[in-house]
Symmetry: D2
Subunit: 147 residues, 4 copies
């Protein structure tokens, strides 16, 4: 496994917060959000983060760089339910020249519901691994140095 | 509305049958298959039909033709539940030079659960409406003549 | 078909507007939002409307009433793409003692992308058709009178 | 993390195989299967396995036992594409009195595409952790002994 980070359960350990309201279609017959539906929440949060720091996804596409998900891990602590407002906290938690790792904490109010990690790799339009853009490699390097 | 066909509730009115087992992730907190999840069943059935008649989807892609969904309609008669085996019956129900219409009947055993219609348009790689391939225009024309 | 309304393409014909940003996971290999993914947009908009008029979904659940989708129809006029902000306009367009119909218009800026209709039925906890709550029957009756 | 198993890339290390054909709706605008869509493949394979060994999901439900996903991890090695036939290999890889772990290998022909692990906990109807049924605890215990 490439995953190296153990996500904190303390919201103050994260850089960015994005709020998502649970859709009815995301629930399953157990009455809770289906475990596969957390991944789109993480993705929406990443897109929100990129927009927030001034490097929207469209900029990457224009530069011919895409980011593939190489690996992901989620721990489900307490379930999410329809219409709850979920705060997804995220932080870029490290990186290499071609990959970076993100840690997540999902809370509803002060209640911890889930922690997660995703690992991403930069790819050219033809799917080849490629170097991260300088601004993103910089974020990862700062995090690595802080460990 | 472009929809012109009223789908029969008699399986013998259909040309092709494709069986799908309901996935747990397709249910919602009401304990039934979410209404948005029927559309992938119809799509999987269309792909199965194209393969069955010797014109697999890959052939269309190779020819630079794609099919966009222009319109769809579903009537939910009785709900579908987890692990049920659904027979999706379909028939090409008519067409024009650039579009075709498909009717569907969803049954579980002899029990009718749903009827549906989809309307599709052929498009070039750049998204422009284009003429249907001859074999498909032919199927639509035969259906039109039979009405 | 129960559908009786033809949705207007004029936003001023609608009562409520809800904005949704397209998620990456909602796109398909044609590079556009998959046609099945519009239904959750309509559903999220209904939930937003109920909250807006002071009758949140939780109130219905507490009263033992659920709403099943009986029928739906969507016309796809121009595709939706990743990260677009979609305004979903909706209006309760009519009703009976046990059902109601909603019309929708999807726009991005001034650009019309889609129109849709859904038909819903009130059900008891055991799935039996039941009368609409008075406030909802009233909205449908006003609409019927205005036609 | 509870995950303790490192999934083998050798199909012969697995007990059960389930074949799934990729649906078009499971692809995204990168032209590959969206990373969130692997989890339903794993789930469908678990259901197939339970049916195969004579303990279908309905039996568990009748016994008032449900299985929650506590944790999952997926490594994406090479992408999956529309219409590919994916073999999902799985094996119960260990367990405790209330939880069990499953390892997965996804292949297309001889080509390895992904490995994954899920961790599950038995729960009563009210969501409380409960002991696994004897037959399932036995499978986990045999695996633990073989390590």
């Amino acid at each position: 496994m490439r995953l190296s980070v153990d996500p904190s359960r303390d919201p103050s350990a994260y850089d960015h917060k994005h709020r998502i309201r649970v859709r009815f279609c995301e629930t399953d017959a157990m009455g809770i959000v289906h475990h596969s539906r957390y991944l789109p929440y993480l993705e929406e949060t990443r897109v929100s983060y990129l927009r927030h720091i001034g490097h929207p996804y469209s900029e990457n596409q224009a530069a011919g760089i895409d980011y593939g998900v190489l690996e992901q891990w989620i721990q489900y602590i307490r379930p999410l339910r329809f219409d709850e407002e979920v705060d997804v906290h995220m932080v870029v938690a490290g990186g290499t020249r071609t990959t970076f790792e993100i840690a997540y904490l999902l809370t509803v109010g002060v209640d911890v519901r889930s922690v997660a990690v995703t690992v991403h790799g930069a790819m050219s339009a033809t799917g080849k691994p490629t170097r991260l853009p300088a601004w993103l490699a910089e974020i990862g390097a700062q995090r690595n140095a802080a460990k």
